[in-house]
C-alpha cells in the first residue's frame, strides 16, 4: 500500500515535470530529431527539393572523398579552427588575467574589450574589409608609416585566412568576460597559501589559477570549436564571390551553402552535413575524454 502511493506520487512528479518541459520536447522532436534523421536519410539520396528523393546508397559519401573542393573546404576550416581556438583562448585568458589585477580603470578596459563582440557581425565584417583595404585602408597606412608594405589581406590567398582570424580575435569579449568571472571566483586564500609556500607568480598561475578555472576553459573551448567549425557569416559577407580569392576562404559551410542552396544538390549537401556531425562528435568526445586529465572539479575532491 505504501509503495503504491509512493509510486503514484513519483508518477505525478514525472507528469508535472514533463508538462513544464513539454515545449522543449515538442521543439526537440520537430526542430532537431526529425530533421537530423531526415538529413541522414537524404544523405543516401539524390534530391533537388522537388519530387521525391532517389536512394543511391553511399554514392554521395564516396563522391565526397574524391571532391577536391570539399577537401579544400575541410582544410580551410581546419586551418581557421586550429589557429583561432587556441589563440583566442590564450588571449582571452591573458586579458582576463590583466583585468583581474588591481589596475586603475579596470571597468573602462573591460568595456572597451567587450564592445567589439556586440557589434553586429555584418557591421564588423564591413569595418574589417575597410580597415584592411589594401590600397586605402588605415592598417596598411600605419604599416607604411613604419616603412612596411602591407599585404592585400582579405584579397590575398596567403593572408585571407589570417585576416579572418584577426577579425575573430577582435570579438573575443564574451569568453573574456566569462574567464574574468571565473577568476574572480578563485578564493583569495588559495593565493595566500601558495604565496606563503613560496610560489612565484608563474607557479601560482600554473598550479592555482589555471586548475581552478579549467572547467570554464573546457566550456569555452568546446563552444568556440563548435562555432569555428561552422564559420560562415563573415566569409560570406566579406568575399565576393564567397570562397575567393582562389579557394582560400572556401570554408566548410560556404561550400555546403553553395551545394545546398545554389546548386540544389540536397543529397550531397546532407552527406556533407553528416560528415560534419561525425567530426564534431569525435572532437567533442576526445576533448571530454582528455578533460579528466586537465580539468579540475572542486567538488570531486571532497
Amino acid at each position: 500500500m505504501r509503495t503504491l502511493t509512493r509510486r503514484s506520487r513519483q508518477w505525478r512528479q514525472i507528469r508535472i515535470g514533463l508538462l513544464f518541459v513539454s515545449p522543449w520536447i515538442l521543439g526537440f522532436g520537430a526542430f532537431y530529431l526529425y530533421p537530423f534523421l531526415a538529413t541522414l536519410y537524404y544523405s543516401f539520396t539524390t534530391f533537388t527539393g522537388v519530387g521525391n528523393p532517389k536512394v543511391i546508397g553511399f554514392a554521395n559519401y564516396s563522391a565526397l572523398f574524391h571532391d577536391h573542393q570539399f577537401q579544400t573546404s575541410l582544410f580551410n576550416t581546419f586551418y581557421y579552427t586550429v589557429i583561432e581556438v587556441p589563440l583566442s583562448t590564450v588571449v582571452a585568458i591573458g586579458l582576463a588575467l590583466l583585468l583581474n589585477m588591481n589596475v586603475r580603470g579596470r571597468a573602462f578596459y573591460r568595456t572597451l574589450f567587450y564592445i567589439p563582440s556586440i557589434v553586429p557581425v555584418v557591421a564588423s565584417s564591413l569595418i574589417f574589409v575597410w580597415i584592411f583595404q589594401p590600397s586605402f585602408g588605415v592598417v596598411n597606412s600605419l604599416l607604411s608609416d613604419v616603412h612596411l608594405t602591407g599585404p592585400a589581406w582579405f584579397f590575398s590567398v596567403a593572408w585571407s585566412k589570417p585576416s579572418f582570424i584577426l577579425l575573430g580575435l577582435w570579438g573575443l569579449g564574451q569568453p573574456m568576460v566569462i574567464y574574468l568571472a571565473a577568476l574572480q571566483g578563485v578564493p583569495r586564500e588559495m593565493y595566500e597559501v601558495a604565496a606563503l609556500e613560496g610560489a612565484g607568480p608563474v607557479q601560482r598561475l600554473r598550479y592555482v589559477t589555471l586548475p581552478m578555472i579549467s572547467p570554464v576553459i573546457l566550456f569555452n573551448v568546446i563552444m568556440s570549436l563548435v562555432l569555428s567549425i561552422q564559420y560562415f557569416t563573415q566569409a560570406q559577407v566579406i568575399e565576393t564571390p564567397p570562397g575567393s580569392p582562389g579557394t582560400s576562404t572556401l570554408f566548410f559551410v560556404i561550400y555546403y551553402y553553395q551545394q545546398a542552396f545554389q546548386d540544389l544538390h540536397l543529397g550531397y549537401a546532407s552527406a556533407m552535413a553528416f560528415m560534419l556531425f561525425i567530426l564534431v562528435l569525435i572532437i567533442t568526445v576526445v576533448l571530454l575524454r582528455s578533460s579528466s586529465g586537465w580539468v579540475y572539479y572542486e567538488n570531486e575532491q571532497q
Binding site: 512528479q13 514525472i14 572597451l112 569595418i127 568576460v177 563548435v226
Partner: protein, 300 residues
C-alpha cells in the same frame, strides 16, 4: 537603544571586510604597474581602432576616405552621409522588420524557456537530468545537420519568405542558451519558498508564475536583452529564409550596402555606424545586466 554595535577599530577589522592595503609605491611596483597599463593601453587601442575608424570615415567625403596615407580627421565634416545612405535603401523598413522579429522571438523565448527551465530546476523528477543533458548536447549539433529538412518542411507549409521559420521555434524552447541561463538562476532561489507555497496548496503553475518568475526578473532581463541582440545581429537565418528586399532585416540590408557602394566607403561606414551605435548605447544602459548574464552562462 537596541543592540550595541561592537566597536571595531580599523586595525582589528576582520580581513575579509577590508580592501587589501594599497601597496607601497616602490620603484619596482610602479614599474610593474606602468607595464600593465602599457599593455592595456596598447591592446585597448587595437580594440578601439576599428570602431574609431568606422565613425571617422562615416563623416568624410567619398574622396577623402580614399586618400593614402590616410587623413585622420574628417574635413569637411559631413553629417549628411547618414541621411543619404539611410534613404538610399528602405532602412526604415529594415529597422522595423528587425524590431518585429526581435519582439516576437522575445515573447517566444520568455514564455517557453522559463517554463522549460522551471521544469529542469525547480521540480525533482525521474529522467530530468537525462533530458537536460540531451538538451545541452543540441548546442553542439551543427545547424547544417538539420537545415535542409527544415527548409523543405517550411516550404511545404508556406513559411519560406517570411519570419515564421525563425520565430516559431522560439516558442518551443529552441533557445537552449536562454533556458540554460534561466535554469542556472532558478537554482539559486531557495527551494524553501516553493515548499512553503506547496504546503499552502499552491499549484505548480502558481508557484512558477507568482513566486519564481517575479524573483527571476534580473535573469529574464538578461534573456530579453540577449535575444534582442541576437535578432539584431542575425544574418544567417534571414539569409536562408527571406528573399524579398522589403522584408529584409538590418543585417541583410547592410550586406546590400557593401555590394552597392564599394566605392563610397563613407556611406558604407555610415550605414555600419547606424547599425552599431544603437546596440552600443543599449549596452551602456544595461551593462550590469549584460556582464552578470554572461558570467552566469559560464557557471559549469
Amino acid at each position: 537603544m537596541g543592540i550595541a554595535r561592537p566597536q571595531v577599530r580599523p586595525d582589528q577589522r576582520p580581513p575579509v571586510l577590508t580592501r587589501p592595503p594599497r601597496a607601497r609605491r616602490t620603484p619596482r611596483k610602479m614599474g610593474a604597474s606602468a607595464a600593465k597599463h602599457a599593455v592595456l593601453i596598447a591592446v585597448g587601442a587595437m580594440f578601439a581602432l576599428p570602431l574609431v575608424w568606422m565613425v571617422l570615415t562615416s563623416f568624410k567625403t567619398a574622396g577623402q576616405a580614399l586618400t593614402f596615407p590616410v587623413v585622420w580627421w574628417p574635413h569637411p565634416f559631413l553629417w549628411r552621409n547618414y541621411p543619404q545612405v539611410l534613404s538610399s535603401l528602405p532602412f526604415g523598413r529594415f529597422f522595423l522588420n528587425t524590431f518585429v522579429y526581435a519582439v516576437v522571438t522575445i515573447v517566444g523565448v520568455s514564455i517557453s524557456s522559463s517554463l522549460v527551465a522551471y521544469g529542469f530546476s525547480r521540480l525533482r523528477w525521474r529522467g530530468r537530468n537525462a533530458l537536460f543533458y540531451i538538451m545541452l548536447t543540441t548546442l553542439l549539433l551543427p545547424f547544417v545537420c538539420t537545415l535542409i529538412p527544415l527548409f523543405i518542411l517550411y516550404k511545404h507549409v508556406g513559411w519560406i519568405g517570411g519570419y515564421l521559420p525563425l520565430e516559431v521555434p522560439t516558442f518551443f524552447g529552441s533557445s537552449v542558451f536562454s533556458t540554460f541561463l534561466l535554469r542556472q538562476f532558478f537554482m539559486t532561489i531557495p527551494q524553501s519558498l516553493s515548499d512553503a507555497a506547496r504546503l499552502d496548496g499552491a499549484s505548480e503553475f502558481y508557484i512558477y508564475s507568482r513566486i519564481v518568475l517575479p524573483l527571476a526578473k534580473p535573469a529574464m532581463a538578461t534573456v530579453i536583452l540577449f535575444q534582442f541582440i541576437y535578432c539584431w545581429n542575425d544574418f544567417l537565418g534571414p539569409l536562408i529564409y527571406i528573399s524579398n528586399t522589403n522584408r529584409y532585416p538590418l543585417s541583410l540590408g547592410l550586406d546590400l550596402i557593401l555590394g552597392d557602394y564599394t566605392t563610397n566607403w563613407s556611406w558604407v561606414m555610415a550605414a555600419a555606424s547606424a547599425a552599431t551605435v544603437p546596440i552600443v548605447i543599449l549596452f551602456f544602459l544595461t551593462q550590469r545586466t549584460f556582464i552578470q548574464g554572461i558570467a552566469l552562462t559560464g557557471n559549469k
